[in-house]
């Protein structure tokens, strides 16, 4: 029995008597933990269009849409992302995210940002031209990629930092071409009262298009949505398994 053990056992008593106030913590839901290579092997087989229910499940206006609207919008968003990826590759003669970011005048920084909770942040685009790629998640992903079983599924084409940068570049492009790009011009009428009305954009369209843009730019044979499970796994295999379960359920597949 060492001192650490005794301290650990005595801590609740000391906390109760002299310790700091206990802070209420949110209790996360629990999931069955699965092997990463098993989950990735299933996820890489999901076609881009089939990710739409997962994408829309994070959309704040999802309750107002029906399935055919989601299908139509997802299809057009994927086309939009691919179209702009091709356009940029042609215009700048490169498909490398770093070179493209430089050519577009983007300020990219790579802070180390340790994650502690069930919300793992990969990157942040700050309008008009700043991108933060949070390296903690990337380093962990790179460590996982050294395992043969993982690399075999995700292929040698995957460079997590470049992929995430590509995704964020699309948000810059979206903002730059906001008057004409589909993901910004498509609106839904939320309510109208006489001449008063509220038309809103749909965030999920930008996300779906950004994934398709990044997929094209990085020439990946699967949707970058796979990163949601892959990059979370090293933080919490249980949370990653939860996301996997949700994705499989939303795409109508057996987990």
């Amino acid at each position: 029995m060492d001192w650490q053990y005794i301290r650990q056992k005595l801590r609740p008593i000391a906390d109760g008597l002299f310790g700091k106030q206990r802070i209420s913590r949110y209790e996360k839901p629990h999931y069955k933990v699965r092997e990463l290579d098993y989950m990735l092997a299933k996820l890489v087989k999901i076609p881009a269009l089939e990710w739409r229910n997962y994408a829309f499940s994070r959309e704040i206006l999802n309750g107002k849409f029906n399935d055919s609207q989601r299908l139509e919008w997802a299809r057009k968003s994927i086309e939009c992302g691919t179209l702009y990826a091709n356009k940029l590759i042609q215009e700048y003669n490169t498909s490398d995210s770093d070179e493209l970011a430089r050519a577009l005048g983007l300020k990219v920084s790579y802070p180390q940002y340790p994650e502690k909770t069930d919300r793992v942040l990969f990157a942040d685009f700050v309008m008009p031209d700043k991108i933060n790629i949070f390296m903690d998640a990337i380093y962990r992903a790179e460590r996982l990629l050294q395992k043969h079983a993982i690399k075999r599924v995700l292929t040698g084409k995957l460079n997590p930092a470049k992929l995430i940068l590509a995704h964020e570049i699309f948000h810059f492009i979206e903002d730059k071409y906001k008057q004409e790009i589909f993901t910004k011009t498509e609106k839904i009428r939320l309510w109208s009262l006489g001449f008063l009305h509220n038309d809103s954009g749909i965030y999920a369209l930008g996300e779906i298009a950004a994934m398709s843009f990044a997929e094209k730019l990085c020439d990946l044979p699967y949707s970058p949505y796979v990163m949601d499970v892959f990059l979370v796994y090293d933080y919490s295999p249980e949370d990653a398994s939860g996301l996997y379960e949700e994705i499989m359920t939303l795409t109508g597949l057996e987990p």
């Binding site: 206006l61 502690k116 942040l121 309510w191 509220n198 979370v232």
Partner: protein, 469 residues
């Protein structure tokens, strides 16, 4: 100045007060802190009667006990350590039923549906959506309270705001501010704080309805409007964000929508109480069971339904448990402050403000002392300040309530990182404490100053019937 034994004891008591303030600010256990100070404030004032002058004792009959006085030392100790916490039991049952009702609103999906429907009105315009969400959040927290419900609503609201491009610190500040705004009309919090000033049986006219009509609505509206306006101002200055984050879905986020007509239920207990002075617990039971039946949560067997109601009650009580120990120690402290006050009067009686206008001005200037469980917040060392202030000067209960509610609700609950659910929010959104405080302290002052103006306008000049004791 008289430097007799009474002054020396008064000075030692004042030192213990500052020691308690330091203890609270350091974030140590409040229950133990108040228990220790209660013991000290029992021993020093009552033990001190053996050494103080006859004249001092005659001028302060509260300190007289023993033969020929009709009061025994044991009866005083019983009042402090038995009757006082027992008396607070009536408030505790309100807390438990309120916690149950909060759990019902979460379990039935009413709270999450309300948030989702609100967002569907605002769409992708952050300013409109923030305004609507703040209003609905405040309405929800007029009946729900405790860390559990705030976290349950926070895990829905915060990701929504962040997905709208609202910087996370602004999302945190505006959500926590609107929770606190709702607390101003929350019957459970009202009963809790009322018990700091008077026993539940005293002053029956000082009801939630009376308080709401005189000042509560104004306090809520001021906090809601100022928080929303500041959020818009901050948003205007900041750059929009777009984040790629992976997050497991919370059970609340994936809940099915509750029927539209049930969305009124969160405010039913408050409306019943304010409009008809209907019992708070009765309101919780009516609205709670209506929610369970109308949302189809009572469709199981009788046994299953009983288990569900029981489970929600258990979870609700667990939500409030961390505060119960502290709140059951406080009445002892409130009682013992009566015996310490004659000594305080000797030391600080001359400098304590006795004018309502001066109290409002001083408290408004010192609002920052409501932060970090400092000497202004009732859920911190403010209970000691109240003990001193209410015993050395004569103020009405509604006035004192307003004066202390502002640092407690606006500053501590709405703007301070020591509030349990704010601490949770900081960890959840990964906002740095200083970034949150940079936004919340201006809100505490802007809101607090306006609320003190409202206290002076609406809660001053009451007669003897409204005075403490």
């Amino acid at each position: 100045m008289n430097f007799g034994v009474d002054f020396i004891i008064g000075s030692i008591l004042l030192l213990t007060f500052f020691a308690l303030a330091w203890y609270c600010i350091k974030g140590y256990n409040l229950m133990i802190g108040f228990l220790v100070i209660t013991i000290l404030w029992t021993v020093l004032p009552l033990g001190g009667t053996m050494f103080v002058s006859e004249a001092f004792l005659k001028a302060n009959p509260v300190l007289l006990f023993g033969e020929g006085t009709g009061t025994t030392l044991v009866s005083i100790l019983n009042r402090i350590y038995q009757s006082a916490p027992e008396g607070w039991g009536t408030t505790l049952v309100n807390v438990c039923w309120g916690a149950w009702f909060g759990r019902v609103l979460m379990d039935t999906g009413i709270a999450s549906t309300l948030i989702r429907k609100t967002v569907e009105l605002g769409g992708d315009k952050p300013v409109v959506t923030i305004s609507l969400l703040n209003l609905v959040t405040a309405l929800i927290f007029t009946s729900m309270t405790g860390a559990g419900p705030v976290i349950a609503i926070g895990v829905i609201v915060l990701p929504i705001l962040m997905s709208l491009g609202v910087p996370k610190a602004i999302a945190m500040f505006t959500f926590m501010g609107s929770v606190a705004a709702g607390i101003y009309l929350n019957p459970v919090n009202f009963a809790q704080y009322r018990a700091f000033f008077i026993k539940p049986s005293e002053m029956p006219d000082f009801t939630l309805g009376w308080y709401a009509n005189h000042w509560g609505y104004a306090a809520l509206i001021i906090m809601l409007v100022v928080t929303t306006l500041l959020a818009m101002l901050y948003l205007n200055r900041s750059k929009s964000h777009r984040q790629w984050a992976a997050q497991t879905r919370t059970p609340q986020a994936s809940q099915k929508d509750a029927p539209i007509y049930t969305l009124i239920l969160p405010v039913v207990p408050v409306i019943l109480n304010i409009a008809f002075n209907f019992s708070v617990i009765g309101g919780f039971i009516i609205a709670g069971f209506a929610a369970l039946f109308l949302c189809g949560r009572m469709s199981g067997t009788f046994r299953e339904n009983c288990q569900l109601v029981n489970k929600l009650y258990y979870e609700g009580v667990v939500d409030t448990a961390p505060l119960v120990g502290f709140l059951l120690t406080l009445p002892m402290f409130n009682e013992v402050a009566k015996y310490a006050s004659p000594y305080f009067n000797v030391v600080v009686g001359g400098i304590m403000p006795t004018s309502e206008l001066v109290v409002c001005a001083v408290f408004a200037a010192l609002l920052f002392m409501g932060l970090f469980r400092g000497p202004m917040t009732l859920v911190g060392c403010g209970a000691a300040t109240l003990g001193v202030l209410s015993n050395v000067a004569k103020f009405s209960v509604p006035f004192l309530y307003g004066v202390f509610a502002i640092p407690t609700i606006t500053v501590n609950i709405g703007c301070c990182i020591t509030q349990s659910w704010v601490a949770w929010g900081l960890a959840y959104t990964k906002v740095e404490s200083r970034d949150f405080l940079k936004l919340s302290i201006p809100n505490a002052y802007a809101t607090g100053i306006l609320q003190y103006a409202a206290v002076y306008l609406f809660l001053t000049g009451f007669g003897a019937a409204w005075m403490v004791g």
